[in-house]
């Protein structure tokens, strides 16, 4: 058990049930102080339930949530040292921007002098680059600006933990990327622990220090983004985080892998799996070779589609007996003349260590 001073959030054997329906179960999670943690998973996986249990909007049916080492069972939302940025911002429509931002400070006891409140509200608005917008009405602000108001309203209170519930979901792609960078910068500057809920794997990987992948009410893997991507703990994680090719195979002996088309590979990464298995292979781990002939470590196939993405090219390659493969080629390692045309016969080469083997 880690001490209270290093973890801002801790879930111990937490479960949440609604009647007969189990939303989450067996949740054990630690979020170190000052870390940026992303809860990632498909909708309905229980990530929002976990966030709401930190915020105090739901109480666990079993187990305990700790904030800075303090057990939070039965502690109401308004007594918790955390603030939340809601998915649809939940700004107060009858108050102006500054009144929204200073709302939390006004509730604090002992009271804060009103000059101090407006100074801190201004500071928070400037931090989200909304200085001078204080007197605006909420409905006069664009979606992106409302998002910043919601952020300012939360960080102005200097919470121990900032909770973000799909905060970027309603923004368009350009704005979303800008906000991702801004959130990351803000988190570093403030040193506040962030817990972000998202179903967008790109968002989770790009912003956070740790990713907690959830599925069907359970945590399936926790780790730094790179580890999640490079060493997925299950087929679900491999599939959900990034793109992946799934190949039916059989594990034959200690480290020999036979793909469904009979190709045999020696790989050390069988994870103790025996018998029928599913193999995951990242599209960018595959190199296309022009000569077509299957060498020792390669499969043979025919390019069926080419999707030009600008910085990269995606190919769909039909491999006999294994179905369609997705292959991503980086433009830097590939001159323009080397773009493969649909219909061409190609070889698919990869390092056998890039194969992730899971029980079927």
């Amino acid at each position: 058990m880690t001490s209270a001073s290093t973890n801002d959030i801790e879930f111990r054997s937490v479960a949440k049930r609604y009647g007969a329906v189990t939303a989450v179960s067996d949740i054990n999670l630690e979020v170190p102080r000052g870390a940026f943690m992303a809860l990632l998973g498909p909708s309905g996986c229980g990530k929002t339930t976990c966030l709401r249990m930190i915020g105090g909007f739901e109480q666990p049916s079993e187990g305990t949530v700790f904030i800075s080492g303090e057990p939070m069972n039965g502690v109401a939302a308004y007594r918790r040292p955390v603030n939340m940025v809601f998915q649809h911002y939940a700004l107060f429509p009858h108050l102006d921007v500054e009144q929204n931002v200073s709302y939390g400070l006004r509730q604090m006891r002992p009271r804060i002098a009103s000059a101090e409140i407006s100074r801190r509200a201004q500071e928070a608005l400037e931090m989200v680059r909304l200085g001078g917008f204080g007197k605006r009405r909420i409905h006069e602000m664009s979606g992106g600006q409302q998002q910043r108001v919601a952020l300012a309203r939360a960080i102005v209170n200097k919470p121990k933990v900032l909770l973000l519930d799909e905060p970027l979901a309603a923004l368009d792609k350009k704005l979303r990327t800008a906000m991702q960078i801004e959130l990351q910068t803000l988190q570093r500057e403030l040193g506040i622990t962030f817990v972000l809920v998202t179903h967008d794997q790109e968002e989770a990987l790009s912003m956070s220090d740790f990713v907690c992948v959830m599925n069907a009410g359970r945590i399936v893997q926790v780790g730094p983004p790179q580890e999640i991507y490079d060493r997925p703990a299950s087929l679900f994680v491999a599939d959900f985080v990034g793109k992946t090719n799934r190949i039916d195979a059989t594990v034959d002996g200690a480290s020999s892998l036979v793909l469904a088309n009979g190709a045999r590979f020696a790989t050390p990464a069988v994870n103790g799996t025996k018998g029928a298995a599913t193999v995951a292979l990242r599209p960018e781990a595959i190199r296309l070779t022009r000569n077509g002939a299957a060498s020792a470590d390669a499969l043979a196939g025919t390019v069926t589609h080419r999707i030009f993405l600008g910085s990269a090219v995606e190919y769909s390659v039909a491999v006999d007996g294994l179905g369609d493969f997705l292959v991503t080629a980086d433009r830097r390692t590939l001159g323009d003349s080397e773009l493969v045309e649909p219909g061409e016969k190609v070889g698919l080469a990869f390092d056998p260590n890039a194969l992730h083997v899971f029980p079927a």
Partner: protein, 272 residues
């Protein structure tokens, strides 16, 4: 088709227009217009029976509408916290209360009140220490109770619609920002639902002020304005009655218009 529609509106509004027109009639005769005059208004307001009926009506309307606004809002807030199935039951009960005919409400309230009084009055007499035990009877209280109950259903429906459009997340946001439930109600919920409470109050007021049927059953010896008008009409329609009717019409229209503006303004705001 156009002629048909025109005749429908003619039948609807021509009698009302005539009432307004003849309230300004200089002569007594209700069948010929002999000149413009506001004399009947002066005469109506100089009639002590009429003025006391008007005062009764205003007192009853104000009290019942205030009670309806308070309890209706409380009911709407409480129903928000019910489980969906129970809430549907209460929804149906409130909706039913609004469509029950006034005659039925009138009779039912009268029967219920009389039964309660016949039980309570003897009981009061036995425990009362003095010689003159109070006698509960029909009057202000019974009209206010009957109107208040009916209007409460009205207020509840209006306020509930507004609460539903509020969404839970601003309440949660307030709670997240350290506001106790009471503070959240005061600073966030109340300002948002206040226009709908006021609209409910005004509709309740209008209903009570205009109601004849229910009041007629439970009024006892008290006279409200509609009861006075009904009673005096047996002595023939005078321009004085027209003047009263016109005043009631204008007051009711203004109240309902205000209520509609209050309800509409909030709807467009929440849509943004």
């Amino acid at each position: 088709m156009r002629a048909f529609i025109s005749s429908v509106y003619l039948f609807l509004y021509a009698p009302i227009a005539l009432v307004v027109l003849f309230s300004f009639n200089a002569g007594r005769n209700a069948s010929e217009f002999t000149g413009f005059s506001t004399a009947w208004y002066g005469k109506a307001l100089g009639n002590t029976f009429l003025v006391s009926a008007l005062q009764n009506s205003l007192l009853i309307a104000f009290t019942s509408a205030t009670l309806a606004a308070i309890f209706g809002t409380m009911a709407a807030l409480g129903m928000e916290r019910l489980a969906p199935r129970n809430r549907a039951i209460f929804d149906a009960l409130f909706a039913a209360a609004i469509v029950v005919p006034g005659v039925v409400i009138g009779i039912a309230t009268l029967v219920a009140l009389v039964a309660v009084f016949s039980f309570i009055n003897p009981a009061l007499a036995t425990i009362w220490p003095g010689d003159q035990p109070p006698q509960l009877g029909l009057g202000y209280g019974s009209i206010i109770a009957a109107h208040g109950l009916f209007s409460m259903a009205l207020v509840t429906m209006i306020v509930k619609a507004r609460i539903a459009s509020l969404g839970r997340d601003i309440v949660e946001a307030s709670s997240d920002l350290y506001a106790t439930p009471l503070t959240t109600f005061r600073l966030i919920v109340l300002p948002q639902i206040l226009p709908s409470i006021l609209a409910g109050f005004l509709l309740a007021f209008t209903f009570s002020f205009d109601d004849f049927i229910i009041a007629f059953f439970v009024a006892g010896s008290k006279t409200t304005l509609p009861i006075y008008v009904f009673a005096s009409i047996r002595r023939g329609v005078t321009p004085e009655i027209n003047a009263i009717a016109t005043l009631v019409l204008v007051a009711s229209l203004l109240l309902i218009l205000t209520a509609r503006i209050l309800m509409r303004e909030k709807k467009t705001k929440s849509g943004e």
